[in-house]
């Protein structure tokens, strides 16, 4: 009996050693990968900030820091580009919702777009850690699910734009998926939107694309889930394009009903949305979802392949 006990004890000790060694190895590996990724992203953020700073100094006055969450002021159009300087500056409500402003500026994320052609845009929620590239790989949606910006294996993965979403031509709804990391990385802090106070301080979201900066305002926050294929229920992740009022209303009414609180933001047919989705565990296949409505357009950018003209 003692012999058996001894044997089991040894087996357990070996198993413990193996598990602890592997767990420790994984923890260190994950930490190092995350640090390396953060270093790369930090360099790209710094590059973007430098471009924005140079634009501000070229204009001679601050145009509103993108990272501070202030609403961007409409910039003056340049002569010869469709708008006369003598024209009255339009009010925000008069501005077309989807058309970028005619004034072309250097893209702050030019270096990032050039570094990886899979990058669809750069997502920023001011005053949060959400300040990441968004990858789009129509041939393999999950390619960057466990890969960083450089394509190296990484448990944080990258933010990915659903392959049924498209920026060109732009679809009614852009869905971005991101990991819910305990460290807070990626969409690890997205669930903070469950607090209305957090929402009040972080209503604005920006998506920097190759063409322009798209601004959004949070319209609904809710918990949902991925359903079975045969389930005939509202599936937020199936809505990409509204070609009719009915299709639009179906999505709009459902997200407003599901929302944890009334944001007071409304939308109408023709508006576009940005949906951020991450895993949560209130049910099997749970998802935490933040939907934002596109508001006034931000700066329009020069093609990234071209040299920035204003430094």
């Amino acid at each position: 009996m003692d012999k058996i006990k001894k044997k089991i004890s040894v087996i357990l000790a070996v198993a413990a050693a193996g598990c602890l060694a592997a767990g420790g190895f994984l923890a260190v590996k994950n930490y190092r990968e995350a640090r390396e990724t953060e270093r790369v992203l930090e360099a790209l953020r710094a590059s973007a900030l430098a471009v924005e700073d140079s634009q501000e100094s070229a204009v001679g006055e601050p145009s509103g820091s993108e990272s501070s969450g202030e609403k961007p002021e409409p910039s003056e159009a340049e002569p010869g580009e469709g708008t006369s300087l003598t024209e009255e500056k339009p009010t925000e409500s008069e501005l077309p919702v989807s058309e970028p402003k005619p004034s072309l500026q250097p893209n702050p994320y030019r270096e990032s777009f050039l570094a990886n052609e899979d990058m669809a845009g750069w997502l920023v929620i001011p005053d949060t850690v959400i300040d990441y590239p968004v990858m789009w790989t129509p041939r393999d949606e999950k390619y960057y699910l466990y890969r960083d910006f450089e394509g190296k294996e990484n448990q944080n993965g990258s933010l990915i734009l659903d392959t049924d979403s498209s920026l060109d031509p732009i679809t009614t709804n852009l869905i971005i998926h991101g990991h819910n990391m305990r460290s807070g990385a990626m969409f690890g802090n997205l669930t903070d939107y469950e607090s209305r106070d957090f929402y009040e301080e972080h209503r604005q979201i920006s998506l920097y694309t190759e063409e322009c900066r798209r601004n959004y305002e949070v319209i609904a926050v809710f918990r949902s889930q991925v359903y079975r294929k045969t389930d005939e229920v509202f599936k937020f992740y199936k809505f990409f394009q509204a070609d009719t009022q009915e299709e639009f209303d179906d999505f709009y009414q459902n997200i407003k009903e599901l929302s944890l609180y009334d944001t007071g933001v409304t939308a109408q047919f023709g508006d576009r949305f940005l949906t951020l989705s991450t895993c949560v565990y209130h049910v099997e296949q749970g998802r935490f979802v933040v939907v934002a409505k596109e508001t006034e357009p931000g700066e329009a950018y020069l093609p990234v392949a071209e040299e920035p003209r204003a430094q």
């Binding site: 592997a22 199936k238 990409f240």
Partner: protein, 276 residues
């Protein structure tokens, strides 16, 4: 001495098992993606893991893939070749990317993408097929949903030996005008040349409730009835009742927590037994 040997052996086995946790715990629910290329030098196919062929990365002989590939995995075929490839699995995704004269055989394919410049023949029933630009393809079995896409105009060549549940030709990669939208195409009758539908009207229906030679008609793509005009949207082929929608899983891997927890439990168990 014997004890020490056993200990060493057990330790090695546990370490290997524990390390093996890393990958499965991270992507256990994910399908694997393999990219295949024909190596003229070897006279055989080779493969890499991932969706893009990387010349800097080592490739493996195709014979090895048979023991690894499983139902639900994804395959990308690249490169110029007139060789055929057969894998006895049901793929969730097959992409033929610029490969020419490829004959690919599988047990079945959920989503099949024939990209511009490709010339291919595909065997195995297909759920959703998307043929882009000037690609040429022959589907040797039934296709539930077939979308032919192009920019300003359509130029693909497509023929289907089996039946077609629903076929659509649409410009601007899914967001432009619909050139044709037909249902229930009879077996071996679907024929598109240079983007134009040549099938006689007698062999298809213009509405969904028409004659139904298709063995696997598509279901509605969205429960809320939204029109999904994107290139990769569309309909799903016969889902089983317990199958979840395919949405990226964005939970954090708990491999480290589980491993450390299991290690602690084992350690405590071992110590308790020794004390006894």
């Amino acid at each position: 001495m014997k004890k020490r040997k056993t200990f060493t052996l057990l330790f090695a086995m546990m370490a290997v098992l524990a390390l093996g946790f890393q990958r499965p715990m991270t992507v256990s629910a994910e399908s694997n993606t393999y990219v295949l290329r024909y190596d003229a030098g070897d006279g055989d196919w080779r493969y890499q893991t991932g969706s893009h062929w990387d010349d800097a990365e080592e490739s493996k002989a195709i014979s090895e893939i048979h023991s690894r590939i499983k139902d639900g995995d994804q395959v990308v075929i690249e490169g110029q070749t007139d060789a055929s490839i057969a894998l006895n699995v049901h793929l969730s995704n097959l992409t033929v990317n610029g490969a020419s004269t490829v004959v690919a055989s599988f047990k079945g394919i959920d989503h099949c993408y024939i990209l511009a410049g490709s010339i291919a023949a595909v065997s195995g029933g297909v759920g959703n097929a998307y043929v882009y630009d000037d690609a040429s393809v022959t589907f040797n079995d039934n296709v539930s949903y077939l979308q032919i896409l192009g920019g300003d105009d359509l130029h693909a060549n497509v023929s289907v030996r089996g039946t077609v549940g629903h076929a659509v030709g649409v410009e601007q990669y899914g967001s432009g005008s619909v050139r044709y939208d037909v249902y229930s195409v009879a077996a071996d009758k679907f024929n598109v040349e240079d983007g134009a539908l040549l099938t006689e009207e007698a062999h298809y229906s213009k509405n969904q409730t028409g004659g139904a030679p298709s063995q696997n008609p598509p279901s509605s793509g969205s429960s809320q009835g939204s029109t999904q005009n994107n290139t990769q949207s569309g309909t799903q082929s016969k889902p089983s009742s317990d199958e979840y929608d395919d949405v990226p899983k964005t939970g954090e891997s708990k491999a480290v927590v589980w491993l450390l927890g299991a290690g602690l439990v084992c350690l405590l168990g071992s110590r308790a037994l020794r004390k006894n």
